[in-house]
């Protein structure tokens, strides 16, 4: 196959280059320029409120950031947010995928309803949950709690991070469901039937056939969600603004505060570098997986 093409390769190579030039150049610029600037700023003294103070800062910004308790609070919140949302969406998504794979009346419509939250813009989902669902006196959850005789929870004051987790999980559960449901469709029904004939119960089938089959899709869900969840922003912006105190400030929100509220470009950039490193650790695994898939 390569031999027959060999003659046209150099010409083809040139054409390939020309055709790809626009996309590659733009993406290269989009990546290199801001990345370089972030890196550069992170070593500079640069605060928009103090125009006189400039110059090379060495590791000052990093030192300042790494010794700032706010960073560690934000890192902790980021980890909790990512961890909890992942746990809820992956476990929930797997169970829901099994459920929605079964035959039942109106399954198509039920599936469509269940994946809907994924298509709702983040500012809408956050505000609908904050107000109509979680409002301490007029929200639906408060009404439900009171109607069964429980005290209403003031979600955003007493459980701020949990509230954010619930909102974000509600948005991403449908994503996990959608991906895992697609993966379910390639499950070999004959194998399931054979296992059933051999006397395997539904639980055994789930653990020994379904789950191994979904392994790969589950890891894809985990990695993609991690990349997006590391930098959750809008949901925090419209509900808690990172508060009370720093209770719901994650890394993305801390960088936003440093950059656009404190105008401290240097420190914000150092934070940006940390966020990029964290995301890249996940991205390496994801790219490797996609690459493997390209080969088959």
């Amino acid at each position: 196959m390569t031999k027959t093409r060999a003659s046209g390769r150099t010409v083809g190579g040139l054409r390939t280059l020309a055709l790809q030039a626009p996309a590659v150049t733009l993406l290269l610029l989009w990546m290199i320029v801001p990345l370089g600037m972030t890196l550069w700023f992170s070593f500079q003294r640069y605060n928009l409120l103090m125009p006189g103070m400039t110059g090379f800062a060495g590791l000052e910004n990093y030192e300042y950031l790494l010794t700032d308790p706010a960073l560690w609070a934000a890192m902790g919140n980021t980890l909790l947010l990512v961890g909890w949302v992942l746990a809820i969406t992956v476990v929930g998504g797997t169970l829901l995928a099994v459920l929605f794979q079964q035959e039942f009346a109106g399954r198509g419509i039920a599936r469509v309803l269940a994946i809907s939250p994924f298509f709702v813009m983040p500012t809408v989902s956050a505000l609908v949950w904050k107000n109509m669902m979680m409002h301490p006196s007029n929200g639906v959850l408060a009404w439900l709690a009171e109607s069964i005789g429980l005290p209403a929870v003031d979600w955003f004051s007493s459980l701020p991070l949990t509230s954010i987790v619930i909102i974000v999980a509600w948005q991403w559960l449908p994503f996990a469901l959608l991906i895992l449901l697609t993966a379910m469709q390639s499950l070999d029904e004959d194998q399931v039937e054979a296992a059933r004939m051999d006397g395997a119960g539904p639980i055994a089938i789930f653990f020994f056939i379904t789950l191994p089959h979904l392994k790969r899709a589950i890891s894809v869900v985990i990695m993609i969600e991690m990349i997006f969840l590391l930098t959750i922003f809008a949901e925090i912006f419209v509900t808690t603004s990172g508060g009370p105190g720093l209770a719901t400030t994650n890394l993305a929100y801390l960088i936003y505060i440093r950059a656009l509220l404190d105008f401290d470009v240097g420190t914000a950039s150092a934070g940006g570098v940390i966020a990029i490193i964290l995301a890249n650790i996940v991205a390496i695994f994801l790219v490797r997986m996609v690459a493997k898939n390209l080969e088959d």
Binding site: R9, T16, L19, Q20, A23, V24, L27, M31, P34, L35, M37, T38, L99, E103, F104, A105, I109, R111, V112, A114, S116, P117, F119, V120, M121, T123, V124, L127, V128, N131, M132, M133, V140, W143, W170, L178, T182, I224, I227, T231, F233, A234, F237, V238, L251, A252, A259, V265, A268, G272, V273, I276, L278, A279, A283, V287, M289, V290, N293, L294
Partner: protein
């Protein structure tokens, strides 16, 4: 003996595990309950949009006299249409640009592959994994200096670049699925590359291109990091407009709901229509 063995075997056999009808009824109830619980906030939002402000904060009830008051007020008082227009311009503008840049690139990858094709493709995907917040500072400063802050053009540029990797990727998978013989035949008949693309490739892969475009529209429409940070009023799309309801002064749930319903309705419907292609684009083909 026979009764004993049939007894132990019975619960395990397919038909004996309770009646299939009972199982189906149970699954129907369970499946629908789960779906309705997940969908409930959206349903409640749609309902609240048709209430008056005082009915919106009253005890939850399904019985009320529906009104279009909030819909009117959202338009009259805050100019909903202006923000919707920004969303449309930004989502479709960036999608059009992304397709324009991505089609030649995907064509080259699918039909003129070289040793580097795979590497280029993976590199493009990896740029998608760069967290936006990591480049917030430089983008903000560049936009400020060249006057792109709070402009539609600025957002269009960001969204085009943001979606470009996914668009190239999806187009590549659609182009690759196309039988090569057809293009070969066209070339035999003396079609130039441009003719080949215009009259053979594009018409034949139109469904794929359309769903790629839809995914890009959906992603741009719902994007809320850049829209909140790069726009203030002139170019603010719906994501940023809805965020303006977060101010703690007073509760305007009915208006929030009416505006939200209008903002998500088109994308919800597009999303329902393109579920399958969504999976293809969002997982970079890692899940089939």
């Amino acid at each position: 003996m026979t009764t004993l063995s049939s007894k132990t075997a019975a619960p395990r056999s397919v038909s004996g595990w309770r009646s299939p009808q009972a199982k189906r009824a149970f699954l129907t109830i369970l499946g629908w309950s789960v779906a309705l619980v997940i969908f409930f906030p959206i349903f409640w939002m749609i309902l609240t949009g048709f209430k008056t402000e005082s009915a919106a904060i009253a005890d939850p009830t399904l019985i009320f006299s529906p009104t279009l008051e909030s819909y009117q007020e959202v338009q009259e008082r805050s100019g909903y249409a202006r923000f919707a227009l920004n969303s449309v311009a930004v989502a479709f503008g960036s999608t059009f640009l992304a397709l324009l840049i991505a089609i030649p690139s995907a064509y080259a990858m699918a039909f003129l592959p070289t040793k580097r094709t795979k590497g280029t493709l993976l590199w493009m995907l990896s740029t998608k994994m760069l967290p936006s917040v990591g480049v917030l500072v430089p983008i903000y400063l560049i936009f400020r200096d060249v006057g792109l802050l709070d402009t539609r053009t600025g957002l269009i540029i960001v969204y085009t670049l943001m979606n470009l990797p996914i668009v190239v990727w999806m187009l590549y998978t659609f182009f690759k699925d196309m039988p090569k013989d057809i293009l070969e035949a066209g070339r035999m008949d003396g079609a130039s590359t441009l003719q080949e693309v215009m009259f053979l490739l594009l018409p034949l892969t139109l469904p794929g291109i359309a769903s790629t475009g839809l995914l890009s529209v959906i992603l741009s429409w719902n994007e809320a990091f850049w829209s909140l940070n790069l726009t203030t009023s002139n170019a603010a799309p719906l994501t940023a407009y809805i965020a303006s309801f977060s101010s703690p002064e007073g509760l305007f749930w009915a208006k929030l709901s009416a505006a939200s319903t209008m903002a998500i309705a088109p994308i919800l419907i597009l999303g329902w229509m393109t579920q399958k292609q969504m999976v293809r684009g969002l997982t970079f083909g890692a899940v089939k």
